[in-house]
Symmetry: C2
Subunit: 324 residues, 2 copies
């Protein structure tokens, strides 16, 4: 099992990446890691027992995805995806430019047989701490019913094998719970998914219920999923931010905040994406995992843990079997 990792992806790269790998190597000493990084940073990125693959270019967060992938052929993102295709690596993890990673995955790793569009599938936090896999959150903004059907199957296999849910339930994001609600897309997708998954399909799920964990896999088009992801981040950040402001307003609230901290921290942790690893790009011929842009060492460690399970359970073959 050889996992290629982008040294330069994310706000805290490369230090958080290197530290995450160090922790993973400590836990699984026989794990083979190939760290892809800028040639002139080789010394800084050196890690015992980790192979270094030098590159000469770097895709920046503000680069235009498709253009960057086309032009920066010797960047960590492009090289990582090519290594997966050439089977020089079994999987690739990056915390870099999401759009570029999706484009490079699509062009250089390639789609799995039976998959029309890959989907980006992060785990959203839920109040019960188990999380819910949401796909797609933006790989394919304009989805067709058939794409949503494929997401349901891929998400369901991933949730079972990698996230460890027994018979995961699948829901369809919609604006009402009754059948027939929503748009032409959701109505047609409903019929297709119901036919495929039968009892494991819980039907339509409304956005206000997501945090309660009404299912383990939630399917939607990439535009809506992306809005959902960013809105959840925005609202949670705003509420926590304002709360912090109120709790540190004066010496009295500050001393109370100190006492409350352990309790609030537990909650903040349950709501934290970092505990859930990265978001896989499902539907490609090999595992490509997007680590969150603000990933710290623990998040990279978790992304590696999750990628191990992805490979151990041979999720890709299972998806190909079910979809082709």
């Amino acid at each position: 099992m050889r996992i290629a990792i982008d040294a330069h992806g994310g706000d805290h790269a490369p230090d958080a990446v290197v530290e995450g790998i160090r922790q993973a190597k400590e836990k699984w000493p026989d794990l083979k890691i190939i760290l892809i990084g800028l040639k002139d940073m080789e010394d800084q990125l050196a890690l015992d027992g980790v192979e270094f693959r030098p590159v000469t270019e770097k895709i920046e967060p503000e680069d235009k995805p498709t253009q960057a992938v086309r032009r920066k052929k010797d960047s960590s993102i492009v090289v990582g995806c090519q290594m997966v295709r050439k089977k020089e690596a079994d999987a690739f993890i990056s915390g870099g430019n999401t759009g570029a990673l999706m484009a490079a995955g699509f062009f250089h790793v390639g789609r799995l047989k039976g998959v029309d569009r890959p989907a980006l599938a992060p785990v959203f936090p839920t109040l019960n701490g188990k999380g819910i896999l949401v796909l797609d959150v933006g790989a394919n903004p304009e989805a067709k019913p058939e794409h949503l059907r494929q997401y349901a199957t891929m998400g369901s296999i991933y949730a079972e094998k990698v996230l460890g849910f027994e018979s995961p339930r699948v829901g369809l994001l919609n604006i009402g719970t009754e059948e027939g609600k929503g748009t032409e897309l959701t109505r047609e997708a409903y019929a297709l998914i119901e036919k495929d998954l039968a009892a494991r399909f819980v039907g339509n799920v409304e956005a206000r219920d997501i945090l309660e964990g009404p299912c383990e896999v939630l399917v939607c088009d990439g535009f809506t999923g992306n809005v959902l992801l960013k809105n959840t981040e925005g609202v949670a950040k705003a509420v926590f931010g304002r709360l912090k402001q109120e709790l540190t307003a004066n010496w009295m609230t500050k001393s109370m905040a100190a006492l409350l901290k352990p309790r609030l921290k537990k909650f903040a942790q349950a709501m934290d994406y970092k505990e859930h690893g990265g978001a896989p790009l499902l539907g490609l011929k090999g595992p490509v995992i997007k680590a969150h842009g603000s990933s710290d060492a623990r998040a990279f460690y978790n992304a590696i843990r999750q990628t191990r399970r992805f490979l151990q359970h041979d999720v890709i073959s299972r998806m190909e079997e079910e979809l082709s």
Copy 2:
């Protein structure tokens, strides 16, 4: 100015409705209110100086909207909309079944010249307390670019005249900030709105930035808007709910919670839809206002206050002028 109000809409009806009207009459003694309620509840609903319009039917929250509007012709929702069309009332407010109110508005009040689809336009809370008008949140799940252009104009007039924003800025909800992002719908709508509004159009707005108040009017298709609305409610409710749980876990946290309460309450109020009145259904020939289902007396009072401004500024004629 005669405002018709549904006595039976919302979780706290009819008491919250009656109390909201009482408060409004106290503030504006010459305001004419027509309360539409079930005949056999006339005594309970009697209010000094308020006309009572008896009906024999009631649309329930769980009724199928279009069916209910067709069958229950003597319900408060259908009668209220018909009164607006016949000019027996200048506006109608209801906290009842949202789908039924939208259907009755569409069929019985009718569309304004130049409007293809009416839009439901609630005010979302923002951290600065000013709020942001979002439309559409579900009247028209499958929007076309031209609909979004009309929403931008209607929302902009409403935000200026009723919400009191001077030259309100208009944004387009999208999954990236650069022009060209998103779907065919958002790309085409972007061009149309930019042509119409010029400098007042701030371009694409991402969901994570909404609470910061990047603009005063935010335009989107009804499916996405509905998901956004319900997700915001769901996340805020979950975070506040969990916070309450942590704060009341034992005597120590309880005593701290008591001390923090005034501070947290101020914040909760800023985030509260009740302060912002109801959601107008824009694009109809007369004002129809949806009060939130969980409206209390204060929310109904605010919905009346807002409807007064709607009528005083002759918003409907202004929209007709701009759009036809």
